[in-house]
């Protein structure tokens, strides 16, 4: 098998949380616990899970923004765990990140121009003239009018700020972009704009995405492969179609059935989970999911399952993977459209411009 662009092996990150001042008894929090995956060039791998599952930490470990406690990260064939100092800084341009919060991710004291110029200066790319051309080009790629370059972040709306963040990531021509919940903080209609933009940019520039999200609906649209994390471990990985057609792990199924379907006729068929995510400091013995799992048996309470290949590029960490009932997927929400409704949506689709336009009309600038 050819090596992927990003190869993660047994990556772990533990934090020491000292619980007691007097006894000095140390407790260990396993934020990421032996995670392995590989990401092919041009592919989008979605890392999915609920808050606290370690998906963001995994991404930052892969980027070496946080030092791993154990494990290796290979990018484009070379071990980046060995990099230190300026070689590490030179490597960084190949792997960029887009953040969730469009308000915290831009320096409030820097104009768009300064924000976009900085990566070029830091990496010593180009001269004044070529930098200007590059900034101009990237701003247009992400759908921002270059006239806005002199403005400060607070003069933009959330969606536009997210475009600035995307531009900052793309300006150094990275191969891999980590998208850390890039649309979670945006309104639905703006979400769709940004998702479309990310898709267009991937097609144009041949980017690979490591897409971190809790929103399976977004993942369904944008990912090629899905990896589900629970309490620091990957519990299932599969190509997107297989995953959504027949999720194998009980937790994946619970996640999928918990998405509120935009379909009033699809109520009340969810797989209820009991309890909430346990404290990552006191992990349960055996399978981490067993206290909430409706299929748990004795073995699950004693023995921790490993991520096992189940063929066709799929892997699951569950003792009972072969005993689970068949999965009934939910129908597409638009199936409930009446014929007239369907025609209307089609008419709407036909009129929506195929390419994302540059948002340069003045009404786009928010007042706040």
């Amino acid at each position: 098998m050819t090596e992927g662009l990003l190869e993660i092996r047994d990556l772990s990150k533990t934090y020491t949380v000292s619980q007691s001042l007097i006894t000095r008894r140390k407790q260990v929090l396993r934020a990421v616990d032996g995670v392995s995956f590989s990401l092919k060039r041009g592919e989008t791998l979605a890392l999915v899970g609920e808050s606290g599952c370690g998906k963001s930490t995994t991404a930052r470990l892969a980027m070496r923004l946080i030092e791993p406690s154990a494990g290796t990260v290979r990018f484009d064939g070379s071990d980046i765990g060995a990099l230190r100092g300026s070689p590490l800084r030179r490597f960084r341009r190949h792997m960029q990140i887009i953040f969730q919060d469009p308000f915290a991710s831009l320096n409030p004291g820097m104009t768009v121009w300064q924000t976009l110029e900085e990566p070029l200066i830091v990496n010593d790319l180009g001269n004044q003239a070529t930098r200007r051309a590059r900034i101009h080009e990237v701003m247009q790629q992400v759908g921002l009018a270059p006239e806005y370059a002199g403005r400060y972040p607070h003069e933009f709306s959330g969606g536009q700020r997210q475009r600035i963040g995307i531009a900052r990531a793309l300006i150094v021509r990275p191969q891999l972009v980590v998208c850390d919940e890039p649309v979670s903080a945006l309104d639905v209609s703006i979400q769709a704009q940004v998702i479309n933009l990310l898709g267009d940019l991937q097609a144009q520039l041949g980017l690979s995405y490591l897409f971190i999200s809790h929103d399976l609906a977004v993942v369904k649209h944008i990912a090629d492969r899905v990896a589900v994390m629970y309490l620091g471990k990957i519990i299932e990985t599969a190509p997107k179609r297989d995953f959504f057609a027949s999720p194998r792990h009980p937790y994946s199924r619970a996640l999928l059935s918990a998405i509120p379907q935009p379909n009033p006729r699809e109520r009340l068929n969810r797989m209820a989970l009991s309890g909430e995510i346990p404290n990552p400091i006191n992990l349960p013995q055996g399978c981490r999911f067993h206290p909430r799992c409706p299929f748990a048996v004795d073995r699950c309470r004693k023995e921790e399952p490993t991520l096992t290949d189940v063929g066709a590029d799929k892997a699951v960490a569950c003792h009972r993977v072969d005993d689970l009932p068949d999965w009934e997927g939910s129908p597409d929400p638009l199936d409930i459209l009446s014929p007239a409704g369907r025609r209307r949506v089609a008419a709407y689709a036909a009129r929506t411009r195929p390419q994302l336009p540059t948002t340069n009309s003045s009404q786009d600038v928010s007042e706040v």
């Binding site: 930052r60 980027m63 923004l65 300026s86 590490l88 800084r89 030179r90 490597f91 960084r92 341009r93 792997m95 960029q96 990140i97 953040f99 969730q100 919060d101 915290a104 991710s105 831009l106 320096n107 409030p108 004291g109 104009t111 121009w113 300064q114 900085e118 990566p119 830091v122 990496n123 200007r132 101009h136 247009q140 270059p146 006239e147 370059a149 002199g150 403005r151 400060y152 607070h154 003069e155 963040g165 900052r168 150094v172 600038v365 007042e367 706040v368």
Partner: protein
């Protein structure tokens, strides 16, 4: 495709423009005038003062201000040795402001550096610095100064050094807190992700967002230093007579306050108005330095 028109040139002026707009308010203008006068007195007292501050006139001792029926030529009256109070206030600004400004510069430089390093690195460095800050804050400044003055004697240099060193913990604490709140922001992470070296991250991304807090605090600290210096002079531990200082003048004048209030009240007004003006300027600076508060297109 048209080439972008605005780009770089406008960007520096935005902040300057915002500062200028804020400085146009009546409060800011008044404060600027007061601070300007104080600074002028510090730099060139001879140009402003009508008399030599040391010139005694025993015939016109403890005279009331001229606008209240006192002798001509002594606008704010005279003290117990017949020296012109206005001239002494003007000359007194020199010692007071020189010591305060120098002390703030010293404590600000030490404090900001220590705070930046402690806040950015965290861990052991941070814990150590915090202990140091606590230790120094637990020790009363006045006692420290009295002890040092008692040992080495009082001089401008001693006062500057002692006050300067006594003030750094507050700066360090404020800067450290600001750095910690900024350090976890995603834009700092983004700067690290594009490969920016630590120094650049500190000075380009963390520094400016911490700067406004520092500058504002420095103005408050300046007024505190003026007050401490006045207190020391009042207690007789500051600059020794005959060099005029505001605190010293109040101290001398208060003995005769029932006969001639002018000798102690006017230096007091000088201290109060200077401190008020500096604090007001601090507020104006704070508003002007925050791009989110600086008018124009974003409210």
């Amino acid at each position: 495709m048209t080439v972008a028109p605005v780009f770089m040139p406008a960007r520096r002026h935005r902040r300057l423009g915002s500062l200028m707009r804020h400085l146009r308010s009546p409060v800011a203008v008044t404060s600027l005038i007061v601070v300007g006068l104080a600074l002028g007195a510090t730099l060139a007292p001879g140009l402003l003062a009508p008399h030599d501050p040391a010139e005694q006139s025993l015939l016109a001792r403890l005279a009331p201000p001229s606008f209240l029926g006192g002798p001509e030529g002594h606008f704010l009256g005279t003290d117990q040795l017949g020296r012109d109070i206005l001239s002494r206030i003007i000359y007194g600004a020199r010692a007071t402001l020189l010591i305060s400004i120098a002390a703030v510069v010293i404590s600000c430089s030490i404090g900001t550096t220590v705070g930046l390093v402690a806040g950015y690195n965290g861990g052991r460095t941070d814990a150590l610095v915090l202990r140091l800050i606590d230790m120094q804050l637990a020790f009363p400044v006045i006692l420290l100064v009295i002890a040092v003055v008692a040992v080495v004697g009082s001089s401008v240099l001693t006062l500057i050094v002692v006050l300067g060193i006594s003030g750094w913990p507050q700066f360090a604490r404020i800067v450290r807190a600001a750095v910690i709140s900024v350090r976890e922001m995603e834009y700092v992470e983004a700067a690290r992700a594009i490969g920016a070296p630590a120094m650049r991250v500190i000075f380009r991304h963390i520094g400016p967002n911490v700067l406004s807090a520092t500058i504002v605090f420095a103005t408050y600290e300046l007024s505190r230093m003026i007050l401490i210096e006045a207190t020391l002079s009042f207690l007789g531990l500051g600059i020794q007579p005959p060099t005029p200082t505001w605190g010293g003048m109040i101290s001398e004048g208060q003995k005769y306050i029932s006969l001639a209030w002018a000798a102690s009240v006017f230096p007091g007004i000088a201290i109060a108005s200077t401190i008020l003006a500096i604090n007001m300027l601090g507020d104006v600076l704070r508003d002007a330095l925050d791009p989110r508060l600086s008018g124009e297109d974003g409210r």
